[in-house]
C-alpha cells in the first residue's frame, strides 16, 4: 500500500514536506494504526501518538485522506491510495503527526468540566432517575480526541475565543446533568458572541466524530436553554 505522510521536525526541517512510503501489507481487517506501526519499524523517525489502539483513548487522531479520524479504528480497506496522512488541522505541529493540544484543552477546561454542587454530600451517591440519566447519553462518551474541534472552521479562525464543538458538547453534558447546580452560571459564561455563538451549524464536527456523537445538537440544546431563560 502507498502512503503519503506529512513530515516535519522543527529541529532539522526548514518547512514541512510530504514523504512517500510503500508498505507490503494486505488490508484484510487491519486498521490504519497497524500500518503506521509497521511504517515506524521501517523509519523510526516517524512520530505519532498512540495508546489504547481501540478507539478509547483518542491519542491517534489525525487527518486521514482529508478527513479527521482515529487511525486505530479506521480500516485500511476503507482507504483509497495513496493514503494521505496529516496532523489534525489548525493546531501547532510539534513533530510529524503530533500536534500541540494546549489550546484545545484550555477551551475544554474553560467550561468547568466537572460537577458543581455545593449541597453537603449525601451518605450514598447523588442519585438520578433512569430518565434523568438517559439525558447524558451521547454526551459523556466523548474521548476528547479533538477530531471535531480541529475540523471546525469557526475553531480554526478563533481557537482562543470559541470553545469549539468538543468543549461545548461537554458544557451541555453538565448543563443536562440534574446533579449540577451551576446551570445559570454556565449559561452566563457561554452567552457570548464568541464562546458559543461562533458556531454556524457547519456540522463538520458531526461528520467526523469517531464516536458518532452530535456536538451540533448539544449546541442547539444550549441555545434552547438560553432562549427558555429569557422568554
Amino acid at each position: 500500500m502507498k502512503f503519503k505522510i506529512y513530515r516535519y521536525n522543527p529541529d532539522t526541517d526548514a518547512a514541512p514536506y510530504m514523504r512517500d512510503y510503500d508498505l507490503d501489507i494486505e488490508a484484510g481487517d487491519k486498521m490504519l494504526l497497524d500500518a503506521l506501526i509497521l511504517l515506524k519499524e521501517q523509519d523510526d523517525s516517524l512520530s505519532l501518538r498512540k495508546s489504547c489502539r481501540e478507539g478509547v483513548c483518542g491519542s491517534d487522531a489525525m487527518n486521514i485522506n482529508g478527513r479527521n479520524g482515529l487511525a486505530c479504528i479506521t480500516p485500511l480497506s476503507s482507504l483509497s491510495e495513496p493514503v494521505t496522512l496529516r496532523p489534525l488541522p489548525g493546531l501547532p505541529v510539534i513533530r510529524d503527526l503530533i500536534v500541540d493540544m494546549t489550546q484545545f484543552f484550555k477551551q475544554y477546561h474553560s467550561i468547568k468540566p466537572y460537577l458543581i454542587n455545593n449541597d453537603p454530600p449525601p451518605e450514598t451517591e447523588r442519585l438520578q432517575s433512569p430518565a434523568q440519566r438517559a439525558h447524558l447519553n451521547g454526551l459523556y462518551e466523548c474521548i476528547l480526541c479533538g477530531c471535531c474541534s480541529t475540523a471546525c472552521p469557526s475553531f480554526w479562525w478563533n481557537p482562543d475565543k470559541f470553545v469549539g464543538p468538543a468543549g461545548l458538547l461537554q458544557a451541555y453534558r453538565f448543563l443536562a446533568d440534574t446533579r449540577d447546580h451551576a446551570t445559570s452560571e454556565r449559561l452566563d459564561d457561554l452567552e457570548d458572541p464568541y464562546r458559543l455563538f461562533r458556531c454556524h451549524t457547519i456540522m463538520n464536527c458531526v461528520d467526523v466524530c469517531p464516536k458518532e456523537l452530535n456536538p451540533t445538537e448539544a449546541i442547539g440544546n444550549i441555545k434552547d436553554m438560553m432562549v427558555k431563560r429569557i422568554v
Binding site: N158, P193, Y194, R195
Partner: protein, 115 residues
Amino acid sequence: MVNRVVTGAHYGLRDWLIQRITAALMAVYSVTLAAYLLLQPHLDYDVWTGLFSSQPIRTFTLMFLLSVFYHAWIGIRDIVMDYVKPASVRLVIHVLVILVSLLYAAWAVQILWGM
C-alpha cells in the same frame, strides 16, 4: 495595556435570535410578494403602484427591509469578527456598516412613502 483574550460580551443570544426572527419575516414577505406578483394576469405599473399605495403593504415592506438590514449587519459583523483581527479596524468597519444600514433604512422610508 496587557493583551489578554477577553470574552463575555453577553449579546450572543440576542443577535442569534434576532437573526432567526428576521430570517422568518423575510421568508414570509418574499413568498407572499412573489405569489401575489405571479398571480397577476397583467403585471404593469398601475398594479405595482396600486400594491404599494396600501399602508399595510408599505409597513410590511418596511419591516422586511429593516429585517434585511439588521440581518445583514449581524452577518457582516460575524464575517468581520472572523477575518479582521485589529479591534480598531473592526470598529471602523462596524460603524460604517451601521451608518450605511441607517442610510438605507431612511432611504427605504422615503421611497415607500414617496410613491
